[in-house]
Each structure stands twice: as structure tokens, then as C-alpha cells.
């Protein structure tokens, strides 16, 4: 039986980065992926003259030059080369209800530009925004300390040197805004990014939110020239150069254990491979309840944790290939956050089902970052909404296409009405992805694209602080949106990278029998 140091189940962002880093450090690594392609959500598909990104809108923390971010540095270190292009503005945020537009603001990238904008639209908030950036610095210093002692914190040092870090880690983004003294208007504007976190602004951790917004504002946002498929494929090819092996079109059907530790996997064709460590890009409940050969090994705490958790966003996307150039469609922005309310709590509540009265829509037009991403005279655009509940549980096989179409129809109507875009008459290609589609390609429970919801008790702070304490079966590691770094391209990549180091320690240390 072939023996590996590490077997990675699933080639999504978390799995790929774990594998690439592990192989680079010299671990004998195998990746097994069910689908015939790498990437999970980080993939693309072709329809007619268009190639659509299945999931990616933008990546923070890539950066360039002096603003090279952490993710950019990870790619550099590993020698993964992908052409990335900057996105000009951060986002345009439009709130309109019944024809009344209460907000329409375009946020730029770059700290100076953000401060200039704030001084114009919320002059009283300049101080609060400066404190917002200070808060990021304080949090970052705290996290650095935290990392340097590998979680073995000295409470005295923490209290003395990182009091603001302690405060930030214990509150929500909404509480942070208020504590910084932001005006109501500024709070609302600053809350615009909430859909990227999957929970409302009073639930999502201040730490997570600060990290993301700061990353976008200061280091800017990037997209790969050739869709996220180029990221996934480039990581696979690089990992392969480090000696990593890949099996696509192959399902892991069992996780094998011996002496209370994981020791290998079994594939659908019955073949077995030995492994010292296993990194699962599949959700913990899939490993625990389906794959594990000895279910009694799952610690009670882990079972309870899986049951206590809620799923993150379940997305619905409409991919449009339009046969007219952006100026004819009327598009001017890369990202427009369009909603009927500026209250993220209300929007989250109303997004539990397909029938909510309020909506929050994300309109993304890739041509605004990459003008030649489609043939001349054409445009591609993706409309996305997200559900906070299991909103498609009631749909039958027979009705599925009809329901998909109805929801897509509604979204197109909204965007046309509010933004004045001319979409309908130009649709040359359309593809619609529902939570069912994401469940099909990612195998995630309920089609979650964001792992577990970042609940107050289960946000970045709490997952980070407890990451070394909550032990599962020895040798088993989880990477991906459900892991300790939470969801999104940057967190899953950087989380995979970090987990690979832990795995290295495990394998080189006591793991080997």
C-alpha cells in the first residue's frame, strides 16, 4: 500500500493551498478530488463566447509592490504565478426602495482616497475613520503577538500591551463602529461589505470585518486575468512540481483509523492509501458521519460543535453573457451592492427564504476590471444574492428549473429598474446557479458557499483563540471555509497555508508511528 505523509480530501482553495505548501516543505502529499477539475468553487465555465467565474468577485490582500499583501506573499514564496489585475474602485453602494434612493456612494481603494471621500460625505467621521485604521493596527499587533506565542498567551502581556486587541476581539463590527463614534450614516456605509461575511454587521466579528475592509481599502482588490480557474490550476501545477500527486474524478469513500488516529483513506474503487495526516477540505460532518470507519472516535465536543453551528451563505447567481458593450448596457462599476435597506439585520432576516420582502444584490461586471475578458462588443455580468437559511429545501426536481428561472427573472428586473441597465434584450448566454448547483459541485451541506456562519460565538476571534484547544481525532485537520480562518478566497488560502505548517509539525513530530 502506497504511503503518504498527507492525504488531502478535496481540491478546493483550502485543500489546494494545504497540499501545495505541504509538498513544498517536503511532505509526500496526495490530493483526491471527486470532480474532474480542481478549485471547488474557484472554477469557471464556458458558455458560447463567454467564460464565467463560478464564484470569484475580488480578492483582498493580494496587493502589489509596497502594498503586497499576505496572500500575495504566500503566492510569491511558493512560486505560484498568476496574472492578477487591480480593480479600480472598492464598490458602489446603492440603497433604493420603492423608487426612493437613500444612498449612492462609490468607495475608492487606497487609504488616502477613502479618507478624502469620508471628509466629503461624512465630514464629522474623519476622526472615527482614523480610529478605524488605528484599530486595525492594534488588532494586527495583537494577532502578531498571538501568532508568535502560538496561542500560549501571557495574560499579563496581553493586558498591558494589547488592551485594544482584547477589546476588538470581543465585539461585533457594529459595536466597533459605535465605539469608534461613527455617525449613523458612516456606520451604514461601512457596513456595505457585510454580504461578503454572510452575517449581519452586529453579528460578524469586528476582527474579521476590520481585517477584510482594511485589506480592501489599503491593499486594493484584485482579480485574476483568466478567472479563478487560473488560480486553481496554477496551484495544482506548482504543487505537482513539488512532487504532490493528484487524483481527480475520484471519491474518497472512507477515512481509515488505527489506534485512535487517522491512518489513511479508501477510494471508491476499493484502493487504500496510508497517510500520517489527513486534511479534509470536506466539511467535518461529512468526515464524521459519512467517511470515518470508526465513528466512535469522534469526540463528543466535536459532534456537539458540528450540531451547534449554522451554515454560512447559500448563494444564488445569474451569469449573463450580453451581446452589447458595457456602455450600451449602462454599466460603469465593477461591483455594485444594491439593496432595498441599509440595515443588514433586516436583510439577513429577510434572506432566510426565497420570499423575503427585502433584498441585497451584488452586481459584478468583469469587463470593468478586464475590458477584453469577453469578445469585443460584449459584456459579462454576474448577479448574486445570498440566503441565510435553507431557502431551497422545498423545491422539487420537476419545479427546479422553473423556480431558478423565476428568481433570476426577478433579479434581472430589479437591476434593470434600479440601475437602468439594459440587460434583457442582450442576453446571449445565461446560466443560473442555485444552492443546489453549489451543493452539486462542492458537496457542501445545504450548498453553503461560506462554510459555517460567523456567529457571535463562532466568529474569527473565537475560532482563532480556541483553534489549538479543540482537538479532533489525531492526524485529522480541516481546511476550507469551514475551518478556523473562515470563508473567502484569502482566508481559505491563508488558512490552508497555516494548516500545512501544523501538519508538518504533526508529521515530523509524534505523528509518525
Amino acid at each position: 500500500m502506497e504511503k503518504y505523509d498527507l492525504i488531502v480530501i478535496g481540491a478546493g482553495n483550502g485543500g489546494l493551498m494545504t497540499a501545495c505548501r505541504a509538498a513544498q516543505m517536503g511532505l509526500k502529499t496526495l490530493v483526491v478530488e471527486r470532480h474532474n477539475m480542481p478549485g471547488g468553487a474557484a472554477t469557471s465555465f464556458v458558455r458560447g463566447r463567454f467564460e464565467f467565474d463560478a464564484s470569484l468577485h475580488e480578492i483582498p490582500d493580494f496587493g502589489q509592490g509596497e502594498h503586497r499583501g499576505e496572500l500575495g506573499r504566500i503566492f510569491d514564496e511558493l512560486g505560484i504565478k498568476v496574472e492578477m489585475l487591480p480593480i479600480k474602485d472598492a464598490f458602489r453602494y446603492v440603497v433604493e426602495k420603492d423608487g426612493v434612493r437613500s444612498l449612492d456612494v462609490t468607495f475608492p481603494h487606497g487609504k488616502d482616497a477613502v479618507m478624502k471621500l469620508i471628509s466629503e460625505i461624512c465630514p464629522d467621521d474623519v476622526g472615527a475613520m482614523e480610529r478605524f485604521f488605528d484599530a486595525y493596527e492594534d488588532m494586527h499587533r495583537g494577532l502578531d503577538y498571538f501568532g508568535s506565542v502560538r496561542g500560549q498567551i501571557d495574560p499579563e502581556v496581553l493586558r498591558k500591551e494589547h488592551p485594544n486587541f482584547m477589546r476588538i476581539m470581543s465585539i461585533s463590527a457594529g459595536e466597533l463602529f459605535r465605539a469608534l463614534g461613527m455617525s449613523e450614516k458612516c456606520q451604514k456605509i461601512m457596513a456595505a461589505y457585510w454580504p461578503y461575511q454572510g452575517t449581519d454587521i452586529d453579528t460578524v466579528d469586528a476582527s474579521r470585518y476590520l481585517m477584510m475592509v482594511y485589506g480592501y481599502f489599503v491593499n486594493g482588490a484584485y482579480v485574476p486575468r483568466m478567472r479563478s480557474h487560473s488560480l486553481s490550476t496554477a496551484i495544482v501545477d506548482r504543487a505537482r512540481q513539488f512532487g504532490c500527486q493528484f487524483l481527480f474524478n475520484t471519491e474518497v469513500t472512507k477515512v481509515l483509523t488505527a489506534n485512535g488516529r487517522v491512518c489513511g483513506v479508501e477510494l471508491e474503487d476499493g484502493r487504500q492509501f496510508e497517510a500520517t495526516a489527513i486534511a479534509s477540505n470536506a466539511f467535518p460532518e461529512i468526515v464524521y458521519s459519512k467517511l470515518l470507519d470508526d465513528k466512535s472516535l469522534v469526540p463528543v465536543f466535536e459532534r456537539k460543535k458540528a450540531n451547534a453551528r449554522k451554515y454560512g451563505f447559500r448563494a444564488f447567481s445569474v451569469y449573463l453573457g450580453l451581446d452589447a458593450p458595457p456602455e450600451e448596457i449602462g454599466v460603469e462599476d465593477y461591483t455594485v451592492f444594491l439593496s432595498s435597506s441599509d440595515d443588514s439585520r433586516v436583510l439577513c432576516e429577510e434572506s432566510k427564504t426565497r420570499f423575503g420582502k427585502e433584498y441585497a444584490l451584488d452586481v459584478c461586471c468583469l469587463n470593468m476590471a478586464i475590458p477584453d475578458c469577453t469578445p469585443e462588443g460584449t459584456t459579462e455580468m454576474v448577479l448574486t444574492i445570498s440566503y441565510t437559511g435553507d431557502a431551497w429545501a422545498d423545491v422539487s426536481e420537476e419545479d427546479y428549473v422553473k423556480v431558478k428561472r423565476e428568481v433570476a427573472d426577478e433579479l434581472i428586473t430589479k437591476v434593470e429598474k434600479v440601475m437602468g441597465y439594459k440587460i434583457r434584450e442582450h442576453i446571449e448566454e445565461i446560466e443560473i446557479a442555485s444552492p443546489v448547483t453549489f451543493a452539486r459541485y462542492m458537496f457542501s451541506p445545504q450548498g453553503s458557499i461560506y462554510g459555517y456562519s460567523s456567529e457571535k460565538w463562532d466568529g474569527m476571534s473565537s475560532r482563532l483563540i480556541t483553534s489549538g484547544m479543540e482537538q479532533t481525532i489525531p492526524g485529522l485537520f480541516f481546511v476550507g471555509g469551514h475551518g478556523s480562518s473562515l470563508s473567502g478566497y484569502y482566508p481559505t488560502y491563508s488558512g490552508g497555508n497555516k494548516t500545512a505548517m501544523q501538519i508538518m509539525g504533526y508529521v515530523r513530530g509524534g505523528g509518525r508511528r
Partner: protein, 391 residues
């Protein structure tokens, strides 16, 4: 040093993070957690990895046979996946040591719980001849999930469709017409159906009946080799299409020769791309337009690395796709559309050169620069090394 801008938040709250987390987790159920929900089940029902079917009925048509396929419960397929009228399934075949697939459009309406496919007798057709001389009631086959993008999408297409069918290209339109009659689809379908002679018209009676039953369906027969009363004569030209299409969408299914011809005709009408949709191109045959691009009569050495860790060194003819070479060697390779569009046959070209006809170039942009090919429409120009993801 930290500034004191957050003093309204007590730093002691930090100490509550862990206890609060523990308390919530401890109060949850200790059952094994659920990992599959309705949405996951629906995804699986709509897109099964494989469907085991049995032939339950065979009908002779002119130069073709019509097969009815029902779920093979013995092998664990309880029901067949729902589909959209116009989609195809891919058949898994094992013939004389070759492992191959062939796509066939579904003719049945989506609601019947069974599939129907029509297999035309092709002259020297390798798989079609095998199917039509071997399949009988009781034959068991594995087929793919329903696939393909040749269906009516009201958000994109006109409510009026001019369907252009050549010969056995009628199959997806039969499904659409049946779906319209049973109320599953709602659009007007004007079929321009080209056959050589009256005798060769497939589904003649059913088409008459569907037309009678439903005002949304209209059929115009066009005969190329015969002049007869009540029929149009000749080819389905721009003039004929123009007579019916106005603001409608044009859907085309037939032979590759017909696709090339119709494309020219719809260009004459100045129809935008969005209004003309072709079914998958089908297995690409090298022809005149490829002259000078490939050498004829050569056999190259193809090294194939497969998922099971094996390396096979096999011959690859210059006039056949890499996929066909692999299938001839008895290696089971993933494929579905065999037309370049589904990407199922994606393989990594480790070394060597291939020719990819422009008609079938539907790869992702990055695959073109990173050296990934769609094996079904890549022709070897030298000895090659590839890796494929066998199922």
C-alpha cells in the same frame, strides 16, 4: 503604544469569549451531525454520477431505431434524472475491447419517467452499428446524467423558435414538441425539418399528431432529393428561414455539413449570434478546412498516464482524436459531449503537439496557456504524453 479610543469596551470581555463558545457548544445535541439535506439530495437526483438503465422497448424507424430506457432498479437506479427538453445523455459502451461513450439526444418528454433515444444507422458507424445490432429488450447500459445546453430558455430565447432539423437531428425537437404539448414548456415551435425523401421522414405520424393537438407547433417538411406535392423542396435556405423567423430564435440540430451550411444562411439574414443556437457539434471529422493542419495517415506514439498510476503507451492516428486513441486502447476515459463543449475529457498535455480545430475550441482561457486540452477534439501532431482522469 495603544491609544485609548476604545475605552467604552471593557477589556475583560475578552475573557468571556471561550466560556461563551463552550457553553453554546455544550448545550447542543451530541448526535452524529447531519451532513445531507434536501438540497444535497436534489443535487444528486438531478445530476447522478451514473444511471443504470434497461432497454424496455425497441422500435424500428427508417434507417434508425428508437430505444426506450427505464431505470434498472436491480442495479440501484430507482428513477431517472429529470432533464430539459433538448438535452442529451451519454452512453457508456464496451465494444471489442474499446471503452467508449456516445451522446444521444433524449426524444422523450421530461415528465415520463423514462428516456427515449433514437440511434441512426450510420454508414460504417462503429458504435451506432453495434448498438443497432446488439441492443434489445433487456439490454443493460450505463448512461450519464442529462447534459447539454440545447434547450429553450425564456430569459434568453424568443417565445417563438424556428427549429431547423436535418434527418436524425429531429430528436431533440421531438422532446421539445412533446414537452410543449404536455405543458412543461411554453413556446411556439416552427419546425423546418429536412429529409432526403418522404419515406425517410422520422416520427412522421407523431409530428402530424402533435401539430394537430397543439396550435403552438407547426411542422414544415423540406425534401432535398424528391419533389412532392405538399412539401417544400431543396435545402433549408436563408429565404425559407427568413419566411418564418421574424423576431424568433433559430435552433439547429443536424449533421456537421448542415451546421456549416445553415451558419452561412443565417449570416445572410444578419441574425445576431444570440438568436441562432446550434446543438453540440458532434465528433469532429477532419475535412477540407483542416488541410495542411494535420498530416494524414500517420501513427504517433501516445503515452497516457491514468489515475490508477499506470502508464500506457499506445498508437494514435493523426486523423483521429486523442480521445479515440485512448478508447481504442481499451482505457476508459471520461467524456460526454465529444464536441469540445462539456470539458469532461479535459486532459493535461505533458508534452507533444496537437491540432485543435477552431470549430471545437471551447477551452477555458487559462487551459490554453497552461497546456490542458479537451481530448475529444485534439488531434496529435507528434508523439504526445498526456494524463487523464479516468473514472
Amino acid at each position: 503604544m495603544s491609544k485609548d479610543y476604545l475605552n467604552s469596551v471593557p477589556a475583560e470581555r475578552f475573557a468571556t469569549i471561550i466560556p461563551r463558545r463552550r457553553a453554546i457548544i455544550e448545550s447542543a445535541s451530541a448526535e452524529m451531525p447531519r451532513y445531507e439535506y434536501n438540497v444535497n439530495v436534489l443535487a444528486r437526483d438531478l445530476h447522478p454520477k451514473v444511471q443504470h438503465v434497461v432497454v424496455s422497448d425497441v422500435k424500428e424507424l427508417f434507417n434508425a431505431r428508437l430505444y426506450t430506457l427505464v431505470p434498472d432498479k436491480e442495479l440501484g437506479t430507482d428513477k431517472l434524472a429529470y432533464f430539459q427538453a433538448g438535452q442529451y445523455i451519454s452512453l457508456d459502451l464496451s465494444i471489442d475491447g474499446s471503452r467508449l461513450t456516445r451522446p444521444y439526444s433524449l426524444c422523450s418528454a421530461p415528465s415520463t419517467g423514462e428516456y427515449q433515444i433514437m440511434v441512426k444507422n450510420m454508414k460504417n458507424g462503429f458504435a451506432s452499428e453495434y448498438i443497432n445490432s446488439n441492443f434489445r429488450v433487456g439490454t443493460k447500459i450505463d448512461v450519464s446524467e442529462p447534459s447539454g445546453f440545447f434547450y429553450h430558455e425564456p430569459l434568453r430565447d424568443s417565445g417563438k423558435v424556428v427549429g431547423i432539423a436535418g434527418g436524425s437531428g429531429i430528436a431533440p425537437f421531438i422532446s421539445m414538441a412533446r414537452a410543449i404539448v404536455s405543458g412543461i414548456e411554453d413556446f411556439e415551435l416552427i419546425l423546418l425539418y429536412g429529409s432526403r425523401t418522404e419515406e425517410e421522414i422520422l416520427f412522421r405520424e407523431e409530428l402530424d399528431e402533435l401539430e394537430k393537438k397543439c396550435s403552438k407547433i407547426k411542422v414544415i417538411h423540406v425534401l432535398s432529393d424528391e419533389e412532392r406535392e405538399g412539401y417544400r423542396h431543396g435545402f433549408i435556405s436563408a429565404d425559407l428561414i427568413g419566411e418564418f423567423c421574424e423576431d424568433g430564435s433559430v435552433f439547429v440540430c443536424g449533421s456537421q455539413g448542415m451546421y456549416d451550411y445553415i451558419r452561412k444562411e443565417t449570416d445572410k439574414l444578419g441574425l445576431p449570434i444570440k438568436r441562432v443556437r446550434f446543438d453540440a457539434y458532434g465528433e469532429y471529422r477532419l475535412g477540407k478546412r483542416d488541410e495542411g493542419k494535420v498530416e494524414t495517415g500517420k501513427v504517433y506514439e501516445l503515452t497516457v498516464k491514468t489515475n490508477d498510476g499506470l502508464t500506457h503507451v499506445i498508437p494514435a492516428r493523426s486523423d483521429e482524436s486523442i480521445l479515440v486513441a485512448v478508447e481504442r486502447a481499451g482505457i476508459k476515459a471520461p467524456s460526454k459531449c465529444r464536441s469540445g463543449e462539456c470539458g469532461w475529457c479535459r486532459a493535461r498535455l505533458v508534452s507533444g503537439e496537437v491540432y485543435i480545430p477552431e470549430m471545437t475550441e471551447r477551452r477555458r482561457q487559462y487551459d490554453k496557456v497552461a497546456g490542458y486540452i479537451h481530448a475529444c477534439c485534439s488531434f496529435p501532431l507528434s508523439d504526445c504524453v498526456i494524463t487523464i482522469n479516468c473514472e
